[in-house]
């Protein structure tokens, strides 16, 4: 009952945050003492007429706040255009984000596979060699420059064994794509949702049953995913370990034993109570992955969100920068919200 109003309240408090993010982005971009229009058009195509045309279109001659309002208005109505590629920003952003989502999911999978079991084992075998190894893994993971690890995994798994490849992103067949795009017409609301989920190639392929594409996607992305998992898995394992140790030493565990509960039931209490801090860290990590792993995308040549934004900054592409920041801020907000809701699911003390 209170959940809806809680979400509404949270979204309300996030509106100023969102506006602040956009405003700061814009002001930074505005402060650049260079001529963005030149950067957009390129020296070759430069002629005074086109320049003037673009300048009027993007209100470059108006005061900064009018420019800003214009961009925001375009953004919110979904009409924003990428002045370099001359396409709707959202079309491009959607396809880029879909790739980032794929990478985030694969990376997250590795993170969980590495982090959770290691953390639990380390807690059970506290102060043993395994525990120490987890500690070292966590320290190494946070000390290793990510790009160096990426190069090494490429060296081992690409150059030497060729179990992956470093170009392109597997897409479902054309028929599948058009089928998914047609869904909203046949099924009203659910179809829209399905179509949106299907726009992530991996999910689209799953929906069409094109499993070879899914396998290919995994083959393409497991390397960066593994790298992300290795870099943060140790850290996650440490969090799991510490919070499990905390909950194991809680009084209610001793009381559960005093009640003569079987071992399995006692562990159930311990594990569920240990989940709260773990969910936060995992949630924020997933949010971080969704916001684009720029370096991983650069090294592994993945056309994701991070890379898109990086290129946009390099070319002073305001509309794209604004759109990307908007998306990233929204991801931050949504991830925080989801983490809060998950809290409430795990812990009945938290009710909104």
């Amino acid at each position: 009952m209170g959940l809806a109003s809680f979400i509404a309240r949270r979204i309300l408090t996030f509106i100023p945050t969102l506006i602040g993010v956009l405003l700061i982005t814009y002001l930074i971009a505005y402060a650049i003492p260079a001529d963005p229009v030149r950067a957009w058009v390129g020296e070759k195509l430069m002629n005074p007429e086109t320049l003037e045309q673009i300048k009027t279109k993007y209100k470059f001659n108006a005061p900064w706040y009018e420019q800003f309002m214009f961009l925001i208005q375009q953004l919110l109505t979904g009409q924003l255009e990428d002045p370099v590629r001359h396409r709707n920003v959202f079309t491009e952003l959607t396809s880029r984000f879909a790739v980032t989502v794929e990478l985030a999911i694969v990376g997250f999978m590795f993170l969980v596979i590495i982090g959770l079991p290691l953390g639990i084992i380390a807690a059970i075998k506290k102060d043993s060699p395994v525990d120490f190894a987890v500690r070292v893994l966590a320290l190494l993971g946070s000390s290793l420059p990510s790009f160096v690890l990426y190069y090494f995994l490429i060296l081992v798994l690409f150059v030497h064994t060729r179990t992956t490849y470093l170009a392109g992103i597997p897409m479902p067949s054309g028929k599948c794509i058009s089928d998914l795009a047609a869904l909203p017409q046949s099924v009203p609301v659910l179809g829209n949702v399905a179509s949106a989920i299907g726009s992530v190639p991996m999910f689209g392929a799953m929906m069409c049953g094109e499993w070879s594409v899914v396998a290919d996607t995994f083959k393409r992305l497991y390397l960066p995913g593994l790298a992300l998992g290795l870099l943060n898995g140790g850290f996650i394992a440490r969090i799991v370990r510490n919070s499990l140790l905390d909950s194991l030493s809680a009084e209610f565990i001793l009381y559960a034993k005093a009640r003569g509960l079987r071992k399995l039931s006692v562990w159930k209490h311990a594990l569920r109570n240990a989940m709260v801090p773990v969910v936060t860290v995992l949630g924020l990590n997933f949010g971080g992955l969704l916001s684009g792993a720029i370096i991983a995308e650069t090294v592994f040549n993945i056309p994701g969100l991070g890379r898109y934004m990086y290129d946009a900054i390099m070319r002073l592409n305001f509309p794209v920068i604004i759109a990307c920041t908007f998306l990233i801020a929204v991801i931050y907000i949504v991830v925080n919200l989801v983490v809060d809701i998950l809290y409430a699911v795990i812990d009945p003390r938290i009710r909104y």
């Binding site: 408090t13 996030f14 100023p16 945050t17 969102l18 602040g20 993010v21 700061i24 982005t25 930074i28 971009a29 402060a31 650049i32 003492p33 260079a34 500690r135 320290l139 190494l140 946070s142 000390s143 290793l144 420059p145 990510s146 790009f147 160096v148 190069y151 490429i154 060296l155 150059v159 971080g288 916001s291 684009g292 720029i294 370096i295 650069t298 090294v299 991070g306 934004m309 990086y310 900054i313 390099m314 920068i321 990307c324 920041t325 990233i328 801020a329 931050y332 907000i333």
Partner: protein, 366 residues
């Protein structure tokens, strides 16, 4: 271990004796404090992780200070101009081959060991300064937000939220691409600043364009660095401010600022210190990542991340020795701080305190 404890203890005691000379009775009045320091020194000396971390950090510090003086090859000389074969020459290890360069060269034929000596200074200075500027900013804002509460808290936390909603790297990219031209202009006309910053980074004064790039990374990082501190400090302040000793201090006549700095700050500092130690490692890698993306200084400045990114283009056929060696150096720089932070967290943990206290007593008796 024992020697390290003895060394730290003699440092503590010579400091204490110095204070005793200045103001007699100091040792007696501060006997508990000295005991506290000894306890820390003991706990630290018993932590293998901490000692290794400390040794690495000390080594990095020394290399960072003397590195640029030690470097036997100037970074601005491109050797390949005289000898094209020096480009990405592999390592030359003693048994099989003797001579120069030991671990190989980079794309301009420069000895990578010599270059890394410059790199130490650059990475070290950036990481330390970012944390030393960013943390206090966040701490002060967090203190005010947590203690004042109400509207002030709301405003500060909303601003913090804005910066947290930005992914750090993206914001830093944005800053790093905006600022250099302005800073460059400033350095061009201001000789003193130019001399100061070039000295700080161990670079030539002519490199002011590159210095501007470094400084903009710096500023960008400071700006994205404080929100984490503001949040953690605010959280701790909220719990400490409810402690009766804060009310007692009010009744003892202390003003709000005195309470903030004499009672609240010292009691929220432990987690912040641990976080700062870890953050120096993160900042080192973060700065390297920015340079890796090409947002930092360009040729000929031997910044580690930038050199790795250059070598990456020839990886792995010709340049793996560069990536391995420079990657290892970055790893060590970060690892040292991370190990130290991990040990510090254990040392400052009140839960383990009693045990340490007792073991020290026992040790002393022996």
């Amino acid at each position: 271990m024992e020697t390290i404890f003895r060394l730290l203890r003699s440092i503590i005691w010579s400091y204490a004796k110095l204070r005793e000379k200045i103001s007699p009775g100091w040792i007696q009045k501060n006997s508990s404090r000295i005991k506290e320091w000894e306890l820390m020194a003991y706990a630290y000396s018993r932590s293998l992780i901490g000692v290794i971390g400390g040794v690495i950090v000390l080594a990095v510090f020394i290399l960072a200070v003397i590195g640029p003086l030690l470097a036997w090859e100037p970074y601005w000389e491109y050797k390949i101009v005289y000898d094209e074969s020096l480009r990405y020459r592999g390592p030359c290890l003693p048994p099989s081959c003797t001579g120069y360069p030991l671990l190989g060269t980079d794309e301009w034929g420069r000895d990578i060991i010599a270059m890394s000596l410059y790199g130490f200074r650059i990475s070290f200075v950036i990481s330390i300064v970012v944390v030393l500027l960013g943390a206090p900013l966040g701490i002060i804002l967090g203190l005010i937000a947590g203690y004042k509460g109400g509207v002030v808290d709301e405003i500060i936390m909303r601003i913090t939220d804005i910066f947290l909603a930005f992914p750090g790297l993206v914001l830093a990219i944005a800053f790093a691409s905006v600022l250099p031209q302005r800073i460059r202009g400033f350095l061009e006309v201001n000789n003193i600043a130019r001399a100061f910053f070039s000295g700080l980074f161990g670079l030539r004064q002519e490199e002011y364009g590159q210095l501007a790039a470094l400084l903009s990374i710096w500023i960008a990082m400071v700006i994205v660095w404080w929100p984490g501190y503001a949040r953690i400090v605010r959280g701790s302040v909220l719990s400490v401010r409810e402690m009766p000793f804060v009310e007692a201090a009010k009744l003892s006549g202390l003003s709000t600022w005195s309470i903030l700095f004499k009672h609240i700050l010292p009691n929220v500092l432990s987690p912040v210190l641990v976080m700062m130690t870890f953050d120096i490692a993160t900042a080192t890698l973060f700065a390297a990542s920015l340079s890796f993306l090409g947002l930092g200084p360009q040729e000929p400045v031997p910044e580690l991340g930038f050199m790795i990114s250059k070598a990456g283009g020839y990886f792995p056929e010709r340049s793996s020795h560069v990536v391995i060696y420079l990657g290892f150096i970055l790893l060590m720089m970060a690892l040292g701080w991370n190990l130290l932070g991990d040990a510090l967290r254990d040392i400052l943990d009140p839960r383990t305190r009693r045990a340490i206290e007792y073991r020290l007593e026992k040790e002393k008796k022996k």
